[in-house]
Assembly symmetry: C2
Homo-oligomer: 211 residues x 2
DNA sequence: ACCTGAACACCGTTCAAGT
DNA sequence: ACCTGAACACCGTTCAAGT
């Protein structure tokens, strides 16, 4: 029943038609991720979710590692890089960071640094951040340095969200120190981001006004 | 041959004396970690390194997860919180961040956010950082917010080091953007830390001078 | 007290045989 | 082309039996 999209006529294909799509597999993996964490999602569980034998998955996805990256790509895909007309470089950067964090935060079982190191969508956002800085008037070296600082902050923030959401380290590390302070994680993110952007502006010679 | 440390006389013990110590186990795990990564180190491999059957390890360490935390504790143990006499709050904070990063960076197979969420040593350093801020004159809320920002930066930096060292994501995310810039990772860390501290000073009302 | 072989309930993935 | 059962080489951990 395959239909050629250009001609609209049926096109003969050899062998069986696909019974699944990559997207179905990714969405099944993401659903299971939200019930625990991506590391704990097994290929067998994904297959079970879709009602197929494990090995069927391997017709669509080369390995668990590739599946991990596809899941991160899927989550990051809707995040948009704010266009130049939307404001000054720091406003655009704030919007980008907020959007990326929000996307990741919806899926606490996902760790960017664990699963997304090869993500194409992450690369797209990184390039978007660089564009924002360059269009904001940063010279190449300053832009790269500023990017590294912002990326570091973002990465740490997402990891921290995961740590906090998992309930681990509650007694030990972070929560013990910030508990009792009347700030939630979103406020801490905004205040921290303000500080980082102010620091970049002060130390890396950012121009003022819109880019 | 057990000797009571107080009396100096021999003390009878029941059953077999220990054939291992926790420290030997942790060091074996760390050695194997440096050859790949802690996640890839199996309990069987640790036992093999020590020349004992797997199950012997479980007489000393309750689980792999506990072993992971002990390894992080071991690595963080030598990191000192700079005393008040060593300088102003920002100098002390820089020294602490540098020392902690250096310790983690010696063992790229280790991820703080993956393995150290329950680390007591990490908690000690977090408390040290809070003390530095409080002694530097930050009010409680400001200190907690500043701490969260610095901790986030640090966490991201360590994750970034791991990403960069693993060679993963080289094409995709970070390296592509900062490659070709004449800055190495240590310089990026220092410059980023400068920016974060400047930003905290500017936005969170840090006093000047030594604490 | 401490040691340890056998076994359990899992993994990701290869391979070969099916249609 | 796509599907899939069986098997391989692993895991962490429980349990029971040893000294």
């Amino acid at each position: 029943m395959s239909v050629d999209e250009a001609s609209g006529t049926e096109v003969p294909r050899r062998g069986r038609p696909p019974s699944l799509t990559r997207d179905e597999i990714v969405e099944a993996a993401l659903k299971l991720t939200d019930e625990s964490s991506l590391d704990e999602v097994s290929m067998r569980a994904v297959a079970g979710e879709l009602g197929v034998p494990v090995m069927t998955i391997y017709n669509y996805v080369a390995s668990k590692e590739v599946l991990n990256e596809l899941v991160v790509d899927h989550v990051l895909h809707p995040v948009e890089v704010p266009s130049p007309e939307t404001g000054s470089w720091d406003e655009r950067m704030r919007a980008l960071q907020r959007a990326a964090r929000r996307a990741m935060r919806r899926h606490p079982g996902l760790s960017f640094s664990r699963h997304g190191s090869g993500s194409h969508e992450a690369a797209r956002l990184a390039e978007g951040a660089m564009s924002i800085l360059r269009e904001g008037g940063f010279a190449a070296t300053q832009a790269a340095t500023a990017f590294a600082t912002l990326f570091t902050f973002m990465l740490g923030q997402v990891e921290l969200d995961v740590l906090a959401d998992s309930g681990a380290g509650g007694e030990a590390t972070f929560e013990s120190v910030t508990t009792g302070i009347g700030l939630n994680r979103d406020q801490l993110f905004e205040t921290g981001l303000d500080a980082v952007i102010a620091g970049i502006t002060a130390t890396m010679g950012a121009p003022t006004g819109r880019g």
